[in-house]
Symmetry: D2
Subunit: 321 residues, 4 copies
């Protein structure tokens, strides 16, 4: 391994820069050069490359977003598109590719390896935490913190007006953010895609909550729960006659300076990616499981599922009394 | 003056607790007792009163929301409703009433004074900053800071994806928050109710911004601009073909621990309210103008308008190149 | 089990309130009453008790500090002192005691159980993370985040003046905070009690760092490293002639609203404590290890040591080039 | 005016980048070129110049520190030093110089104008707010907010242990930060250089505070108060026998992303600086007074003093009961 390329793909996540920095500095310390591919697979397809030295990633650790930019690519989904990307990599003497993103991005990486024999490593970069093969994904901790900060603020105003706030957090297919935010934010209820419970079933909880003298209620809804926050709010309003307010937190959950846990996770994974390539590994996602580095075949990341913690789901219920 | 009542009314604003605390402690230091009215005029109408001593407001300075709660009251709009509130105040030997809220709340206070001769003082408590008679309102600085923090986060993700973000901030009738956030957040454009410019007129700016190599654009829209953020985003998308994302910040702007400027303003105003009553003033809102305490007839607060700073509006334009 | 008591002891840590709340609500949901002991063992000795219902812990989840207060107790160290505490517990029909604190506090709990047969459970509440038997302690994540926020700020000013900042973080006996902050803050060097390396050995790194064109350097020192930040700064200044600034972060690391990870950990542990007592467990600390609840004999918490992550220590070095 | 130079000098302050950006963009919009001088007067002396276009200051508005770096210069104090700086400016066809800093920096600018006829404009950039001729200085609001955040955190831990915290904030010659933080932080006492009151005189207040059942006390001390926080703490401990803790906040007050008020002030002043030069003004500091742009002869900034608000000082006392 003389030269590796790195790119970020899919929705950006806080900590992606920390991962890029770790890749660059670890590689540099091992005498390996690093090429940054800008704008994800779309840039790979067009040969949008820059060289990255140790100083180029200075002062990026604490920045949100990704200095390599990200984009969705449609051309990448065709064999021709990938062939073109592979040619660009070869033309620049790149020996391997590190992809920071979600399972969609790992798909692209996997086929590049399969079709063109270029070693690829995936690093889990997505705020949703819905990747099999790692306890946490880069960006997840920051997204939870941002959402929690918003919930704390909404509780202030909700309590002052004794209102019910229905708050939608990100998570198109998974309730990880919603569940963490619900427990940490002291929510009265949480709705996640992993559990099909109906709003009608919890109306009594909302009513009881008010009777108990609670000053305002907080209901957390994952984006992926059918109907979203608007659906839940409507059902509550219809079923209880109580005034509800909806807040959809949206894209702020993607931004911001990464919290320490994301910076540390990203630093560890970026470092491990370079060592993995040096050890001859390929077609795997590097994660952390039970405080150890783990290697998961890329295909597993889209074929297998990581469930939310059922313990924590119960805990959320117990503590909301 | 032996005993004063204080209430918070209308939308809650960060710093209301600091104002209540200042009223209570200043009054106490002058040998005046304080009654807290819970749930605004609605509570006044029902006699929902508590006594407030110096220790009861300990540890509230830094809290968002209002410990006295707030609510909308419809009964208050009738002479009968106000007569009932006046009876409750008299029954509790209350000599005067301090109302923390916006111009709608001052209306209620004004009629109470007019119809029942109870001295009233208004304190400007609203995040919108749209009150004539004071440079700033309690809660405004915190709301701007919260919105700015969101804008900084959205810029991270917007820049990474080179997207146009259209962000709606609070301000139903006024562009104060929007303008401050636009300048402080380095927005490419800002739309406020005070200026009827059309979206069509700024499409070239958006297009040019992208050509200049800007990584993503931020457009700020005040809630009260016709069509809101959704309208602006649609017009931009239609007119430029560029991908836009909308973020409506909503109620998070009301909550959170007040920033220093709001705590200090609220502390000063709460103190001044008690002294004003001791000096025999009534039917006025207390504000700060050019670093001095000012007294504005309550009626002026809804009859006159405070414009946004035209200087700053121009400055926003100059700096967005 | 009909009634349990809970106290917080030793240095306060963010998340202690979340743990108290979880104990109270879980117990309440199981028909168990909860007594709060104020001011730690000192209050236990004096019978400073209050009852805690589900509503009494409302709105405490997000608060720093401890609503039960904490204090150091000397009387507790004698058998007579403990006997007196035991009498108070019996007089109030308390069946078991939950102690939230560090290993010093667990000592007291252990002897209470041994001498008076009162079941005790320990919950790890200390920002230092230096407790055997749990991956993380309550308060640790928040302390790291607070320290990191300070490091980010110092980097701004350090870079502007191209200065060397030597920053001391908490950790009298352990380098956990220092190490996490060093990696997350992109420090050039870190000094922890677990590694006796001398400052003289790293002077070349500091000099090289400047030569590489780095704008300012950040050096993290754990409180427990011999000489502390002042010693390290002096050695650097003597050895390199470069201007250094010292910043001792101190007690701010103990305060603040707990971050999500601390709230969730505290919620889980508080819940588990009640269930553990119901299951007949005693004389154990409840922790989380590899995402599962774990039970460690209290004596192990002061007899065994938890090392810092050696991997991460190496990673800090690699990434600081 | 065809070309202006800009530099930052003295201690860095949050918002300096916003001021640089405003200078660059306003100048650019007026067809004027901008040269950035790196490392303050020291760089001016050495000709350490870079060109700054509108894109070079993109994404700097929200950054702490100064992208132009700052430094102390001794050579600058001699006529020879200044002559050399003037030669560099002339060699680069610079028509005027904008200096962002404190009164020490304005001294240098003033002599450059006097001795070499180069028009100079000063912008108030210092966290201390101790400059005559402007209501607030760039960086002040952020420093207050950072200190207040620390005070809120220390209150959590102080209250939990019922301790007295003596907190030292910046302000070598002025109590502006201390006073704002005291009011906003709800401090029991505040010591500033502007008032020579002795610690002995307030011991009763501290003792009474504890008797009133206050959970912990917060005492704020400005750096410039004789003896500093350590002196005050010692006097309190000696005089009351109560346990005190000292926290010296230090350099964290200089760093961090600027709050909105600093970004807006800096944006306005940077814009005004360019217009002032175009209008033929020189040897003045531009400030904001009562919401209007003001021009103060540079010499006034070191010859006249801005007092703290005596009103607010009284208010701090009233509200601490």
């Amino acid at each position: 391994i003389k030269r590796v390329a790195v790119l970020t793909s899919g929705g950006d996540a806080p900590g992606m820069n920390a991962a890029i920095r770790a890749v660059v500095r670890t590689a540099t310390s091992q005498g390996i050069e690093v090429i940054g591919v800008r704008r994800g697979f779309s840039g790979l397809h067009r040969g949008d490359f820059i060289t990255l030295g140790a100083r180029d990633v200075a002062n990026t650790l604490q920045r949100g977003g990704t200095i390599l930019l990200s984009a969705r690519s449609h051309t990448w989904r065709t064999p021709e598109g990938r062939a073109r990307g592979a040619r660009h990599l070869r033309a620049h003497d790149v020996d391997a590719l590190i992809v920071i993103g979600g399972d969609g991005s790992f798909h692209g990486a996997h086929y590049l390896q399969e079709e063109h024999g270029i070693p690829v490593i995936g690093l889990p970069g997505t705020i949703d935490n819905d990747l099999y093969g790692t306890d946490h994904t880069i960006g997840y901790f920051t997204a939870v913190e941002t959402a929690l900060d918003a919930v704390d603020k909404l509780r202030d105003t909700g309590a002052s007006h004794e209102r019910i706030f229905v708050i939608e957090v990100m998570g198109r297919h998974a309730g990880h953010i919603a569940l963490d935010v619900a427990v940490a934010g002291g929510a009265e209820e949480v709705f996640i895609p992993e559990d099909a419970k109906e709003v009608a079933g919890v109306l009594d909880i909302v009513k009881a909550s008010v009777k108990k003298g609670k000053m305002g209620s907080i209901i957390i809804v994952a984006e992926g729960y059918p109907g979203g926050a608007n659906g839940v709010a409507q059902a509550i309003q219809d079923g209880t006659g109580m005034e509800t307010r909806v807040s959809i937190l949206g894209h702020i959950q993607r931004g911001g300076s990464p919290v320490s846990s994301d910076r540390i996770l990203a630093s560890r994974l970026g470092e491990a990616a370079v060592y993995a390539l040096m050890d001859g590994r390929s077609d795997v996602m590097i994660g952390r499981q039970n405080h150890e580095t783990s290697y998961t075949p890329l295909a597993d990341t889209w074929e297998k599922r990581k469930d939310v913690s059922r313990d924590l789901y119960r805990c959320a219920k117990t503590l909301s009394i």
